[in-house]
């Protein structure tokens, strides 16, 4: 078994007096597509934000030979970690092209950046059509595409996706998940947080189930899809 690309040990997140994440441990190995499912408020987003150092946390976060919990947020992309935040987090006042340029902000290989940009425009043609448009005028689905494209411009080895299906029409959700599978097939390791448990488990190879700040189940997607507890709580059966 390959060694873990990222591993969290006893991760805890506090907001004031509330503990949103209560000492969880998990790992994602190189090349895996892993999902983290659970109800609203289970602590999934807090977990991703802690990994990306957007909020303070305790416990250890190992990423290759680094301790992420000792790094500032802006140092992570240089290490190969990108997060597509909840609510997409695109820069609405910047153009599509400028948003994508921001994704490559830490890179200095101009020629390669241009090639990556063309690749992303080829994969997400809607972005190419709207490259000079202010990003705030895009539809929700297009904004999600842009957020993913922008993260890919950083050439991440690990991509953290926070609720990419949120607020999107079913057709758009299918498209977004198709993109996610394509990116995973290209060798990018993905940790996906999703409320749409069925879709997430059908896409990922492995999954963690979070409930009020704790990981309650960890198994392959096939087992989780068959698990009566998962079926009752998250698949509406």
């Amino acid at each position: 078994m390959a060694r873990a690309l990222i591993e969290a040990l006893n991760l805890e997140v506090h907001y004031g007096g509330i503990t949103a994440v209560k000492g969880i441990s998990f790992a994602v190995e190189e090349g895996e597509l892993v999902c983290l499912i659970g109800a609203n408020g289970a602590g999934k987003t807090s977990t991703l934000k802690a990994l990306a150092r957007m909020i303070p946390s305790s416990g250890e976060i190992h990423y290759r030979d680094d301790r992420l919990d000792r790094l500032p947020s802006h140092a992570l992309i240089g290490k190969g970690l990108a997060l597509v935040p909840e609510g997409r987090g695109i820069f609405t006042r910047l153009t599509v092209a400028e948003n994508l340029a921001m994704g490559a902000y830490h890179r200095n290989d101009k020629g390669e950046i241009g090639a990556d940009l063309e690749r992303i425009y080829a994969m997400l043609p809607r972005l190419a059509e709207r490259r000079d448009q202010v990003a705030g005028t895009l539809s929700g689905g297009e904004q999600q595409m842009l957020a993913i494209g922008r993260a890919l411009m950083g050439r991440p080895q690990l991509l953290l996706l926070d609720e990419p299906s949120m607020g999107l029409a079913p057709l758009m959700v299918d498209k977004i998940f198709e993109v996610i599978r394509t990116v995973a097939a290209q060798g990018v390791t993905i940790l996906l947080v999703e409320q749409n448990a069925r879709l997430a488990l059908q896409t990922c190879t492995r999954g963690y189930v979070m409930e009020s700040g704790r990981i309650t189940l960890a198994d392959t997607s096939a087992h989780l899809l068959a698990d009566p507890r998962v079926r009752a709580a998250y698949l509406g059966e």
Binding site: G78, P85, F91, Y105
Partner: protein, 330 residues
């Protein structure tokens, strides 16, 4: 003489200076939503440093062309102001980055007082007169006059505005500044070090302020340790008029405010001359006969217009002419 054209020329000159100073306020506000009330003082120190350098060079009696001497003053003022801008951010504002909004605002006013009194200690309490070394030739245009200093101020301001616009909209770091202004935490995910962006913003604002300070000094021929206060307030009003946080707004607001002020000062005497109104003329018949004019407000009310504009904007369009969102922040 064409008074209207003359007032427009004067208004464009002071308006250009307001625009450059307003850019300093608006850039900093755009990135950290702080009104850097010490910015006017940075402008004042720019004028003072240039004054000292110009005096020293003139005192040495070097046979340099006046333009070179003034340019030397500018080139000395810029790094000094940049250093002050950096220190302000580093020492006064950064430690309060996550404090309640009122704390850095009060600190800004405090820093303004500190800088004023620092200037008082160094340059004294008397107004310092800039040596009149520039040959201020007047050029006639359409019944009005424009001086070479006015031409220089307008051209230099336009060049700086164009340069800043290019930097903010066309360079990688400029895009990062705009991204940080919109969402610091997401910009960090792209690898943008917010502290660096904020520091650079302060330094650029201070550099613009330094040049504005020298422009004001050479235009009015005078520098004083309190000059930054009123200038800063006016430029702040200009930034609010244009929509604070908006670069184009600061430029537009500055120019408009300069025009309003010049036209207001130019015509207020005429409009408030009571002898032209029939009712008042009858009441004041004796004095109107004797003096011809009984003027209620003279051009010394010039400073009122900036604040009148500020009040009107805050009442009727708080987001400013080009501002998109109404800000309820302190």
């Amino acid at each position: 003489m064409d008074i209207l054209l003359q007032q427009i020329i004067n208004g464009l000159t002071t308006g250009s200076v307001y625009a450059i100073v307003a850019l300093g306020y608006t850039m900093v506000y755009g990135v950290i939503q702080l009104i850097n009330f010490a910015h006017g003082e940075v402008v004042m120190i720019g004028a003072m440093v240039a004054f000292s350098v110009i005096m020293a060079v003139v005192g040495m009696g070097l046979p340099l062309p006046p333009v070179v001497i003034v340019l030397g003053g500018v080139l000395a003022a810029i790094p000094v102001c940049m250093a002050i801008g950096y220190l302000l951010e580093r020492v006064a504002y950064r430690p309060l980055r996550h404090a309640p909004r009122l704390a850095p605002l009060i600190t800004a006013i405090g820093m303004s007082i500190v800088l004023q009194h620092l200037a008082l200690l160094i340059w004294g309490r008397d107004p310092r007169a800039f040596p009149q070394i520039m040959e201020n030739t007047s050029h006639a245009i359409g019944g009005a006059a424009i001086s070479s200093v006015q031409i220089a101020i307008i051209l230099l301001s336009v060049a700086m505005m164009a340069g800043l616009t290019w930097f903010v909209y066309r360079t990688k770091f400029g895009i990062a500044i705009r991204a940080t202004a919109e969402d610091v935490r997401v910009a960090a995910l792209m690898g943008v070090d917010a502290n660096r962006v904020i520091a650079v913003t302060f330094v650029i604002a201070a550099a613009l302020g330094a040049v504005a300070g020298v422009m004001v000094g050479t235009y009015y021929g005078i520098a004083h340790y309190t000059m930054g206060f009123i200038l800063g307030l006016k430029a702040f009003s200009a930034a609010v008029l244009g929509g604070i946080g908006n670069l184009a707004g600061a430029m537009l607001g500055g120019i408009l405010l300069g025009l309003v002020e010049a036209l207001g000062a130019g015509y207020i005497g005429e409009f408030t001359d009571l002898c032209q109104w029939p009712v008042a003329r009858d009441l004041l018949a004796e004095r109107c006969m004797a003096d011809g004019h009984v003027v209620l407000f003279g051009s010394n009310y010039q400073d009122v217009f900036a604040f009148l504009v500020l009040i009107l904007v805050l009442v009727f369009r708080p987001s400013g002419l080009l501002g998109e969102r109404v800000s309820e922040r302190a």
